[in-house]
């Protein structure tokens, strides 16, 4: 009890980072912690790199609360093992920043599941009054709007803004980021509003606020409206109408196309990839006001990235998707799932080469990014060939650090617009002189 409390105070952010350390440190015979949360009834134990799934059905009798406590004890032991490992990695600056990002991103995925499983097993079994607790409200709204995912979306939008070949305008940047963030909050809230009974049945999502009755559906919709409307207004009026239109379109695509399609056809993955690709395009249009080739290239990179990321993630969730009625490639067309992931890993290499061709970056970009692109392609190939849990997890975790690194490298190789402006000046100067002669 005390230990759980301490962890709660330490914050969930610590743990995903440490968990990830554990993954990299221990190789054989490790109980993957993430699976305690993803699949409550099953655990994957890795015996010398051979993974097998053991169904551990919860007995309906009194024994089950005891087993839950047992699980809790085991989890505590895992935590103990994780903690001593982390200080070893702290001194290395690169791994620290990488792991911070990884922590941020895996936290986005696992936050929902990690925190409550430890802190809430007893509370979960109690009856709760359905009254809105005002002091819990910020936390509830944060979870409703998937605040961590929103933060990632905003960061991809800012990457788009940063890559645009215009002088940096701070107010525009802040307005665009805020607008995008609000739009993302609105879209995520509506998504959760639509998916309550399905979320309750999937381990990853069963602790969301609407599922737990912490907030009423009416309030969720009002919150979404109060984020979405100002967000889009801010983008349209404060930045430019094109960005506003893209934001509104993205909200529509996510809530009205992607969310229902998840249950109807596997094409939802492609729609979802477009949803993920639009924010950097929005960042670019916020800066330049127009949809150039550069915007489309950045969108293309994000679009291609979604596939290895999502396909690898969905590989481990096949049971939940099947039971929940979600039409995902990993369940219905597993071969296609892996082919598409590999295809898009390779596409990333191609897109990186296209960047200097379109005058967005220098030629150092494809050269420097080649190692990471080759690595993710290699993992994509392994996933394609082996089609097992370990290769899918490796690919997924790689995708988490691959994207920020790629965007960072892209930014450092950005073609300085001053070079381009010099060329422009020469022409402008000539024209200016010509004009002066004509005037009397």
């Amino acid at each position: 009890g005390l230990f759980v409390w301490h962890l709660k105070n330490a914050g969930a952010r610590q743990v995903p980072c440490q968990f990830v350390h554990l993954c990299r440190v221990a190789n054989d015979r490790l109980i993957t912690f993430q699976y305690f949360n993803f699949l409550k009834r099953m655990y994957v134990t890795q015996y010398n790199k051979d993974l097998s799934q053991r169904a551990k059905p919860k007995s309906d009798s009194v024994a089950s609360p005891f087993r839950e406590l047992q699980q809790l004890d085991r989890e505590k032991k895992v935590i103990h093992r994780i903690r001593p490992a982390s200080p070893l990695h702290q001194p290395l600056p690169e791994t620290l920043s990488r792991n911070e990002l990884r922590e941020m991103m895996s936290a986005a995925e696992t936050e929902d599941s990690i925190m409550p499983v430890r802190a809430e097993p007893k509370e979960d079994r109690q009856w709760k009054e359905m009254k809105l607790q005002l002091d819990d409200l910020p936390g509830i709204l944060a979870r409703l709007s998937k605040i961590k995912l929103t933060a990632l979306v905003v960061s991809t939008a800012s990457a788009g803004f940063a890559m645009a070949p215009v002088p940096f305008d701070l107010t525009c940047f802040l307005l665009a980021s805020l607008g995008t963030g609000l739009a993302s909050c609105a879209a995520n809230s509506i998504n959760q509003f639509f998916e309550v009974p399905f979320d309750s049945n999937m381990n990853r999502t069963k602790n969301r606020p609407l599922v737990r009755g912490q907030i009423s559906p009416l309030l969720a919709v009002c919150f979404a409206a109060s984020c979405g409307v100002p967000g889009i207004a801010l983008l349209t009026l404060g930045v430019n109408p094109l960005t506003g239109a893209l934001g509104a379109f993205n909200i529509f695509l996510y809530t009205c196309c992607y969310t229902p399609m998840k249950r109807m056809s596997i094409a939802n993955t492609w729609v979802g990839a477009v949803v993920g690709a639009i924010p950097p395009v929005m960042g670019w249009t916020a800066a330049t006001g127009s949809l150039d080739a550069g915007a489309l290239l950045l969108g293309g990179i994000l679009y291609s990235w979604q596939f290895p990321h999502f396909n690898a993630l969905s590989w481990g969730l096949r049971e939940d998707y099947s039971r929940g009625g979600y039409c995902m490639m990993s369940v219905t067309h597993p071969g296609l799932c892996r082919r598409v992931a590999l295809r898009h890993c390779l596409a990333l290499i191609g897109l990186s080469v296209a960047a200097p061709v379109l005058d967005i970056t220098t030629w150092t970009f494809p050269v420097i990014s080649l190692p990471i692109n080759l690595y993710i392609s290699y993992l994509g190939f392994r996933f394609y060939r082996d089609a097992d849990r370990s290769s899918s997890r490796k690919l997924f975790f790689c995708s988490l650090w691959h994207l920020p690194m790629l965007l960072l490298v892209m930014f450092t190789c950005k073609k300085s617009f001053l070079e381009k402006e010099d060329k422009g000046d020469l022409l402008g100067g000539n024209r200016g002189r010509a004009m002066e002669i004509r005037l009397p």
């Binding site: 993974l51 097998s52 799934q53 053991r54 169904a55 309906d60 979960d124 079994r125 109690q126 009856w127 709760k128 009054e129 359905m130 009254k131 509003f193 639509f194 309550v196 009974p197 309750s200 049945n201 069963k206 599922v211 737990r212 009755g213 009423s216 559906p217 009416l218 919709v221 229902p260 249950r263 109807m264 096949r318 049971e319 998707y321 099947s322 039971r323 009625g325 979600y326 039409c327 369940v331 219905t332 597993p334 089609a387 097992d388 849990r389």
Partner: protein, 147 residues
Amino acid sequence: PPAHSRNDWIGPPDKHSNLRPVIFYVPPEESPLERRLREARQEAQACNQHFWERHNRAFRQEKEEFIYSRLKAKGMEMRDETGQKATLNAEEMADFYKDFLRKNFRKHMQYNRDWYKRNFTITFLMGQVALVRALRWLRWKKKNVGN
């Protein structure tokens, strides 16, 4: 839930349907609109519970049958020497998941339509109730201020 409470209460997830049951509070001076809302929510809860309970039960049962038939084909017993239940790995289960999803597709489509309709109706009714309550409160305040 305690008798004096004036709110709804939500409980732990049901072990079959994974949905959380709600006990609705019936205020003594419940208006027809509020009654409609409560009944809609109760009906939705009952429908959801029924669907998911049956669905999850079918899933578990069919999964057991699948494992049993596969193990038999492989010539293995349901339980090995240590008494633990024998299992199949994820790749073998994949066929089952694909099949199960396909078989239940139409059922899910119908449920989706039903659920979306109910969700919208309930939320709309909630909005109406909230509006009526707000207006009532404003009128009461004006009356009190007047006095």
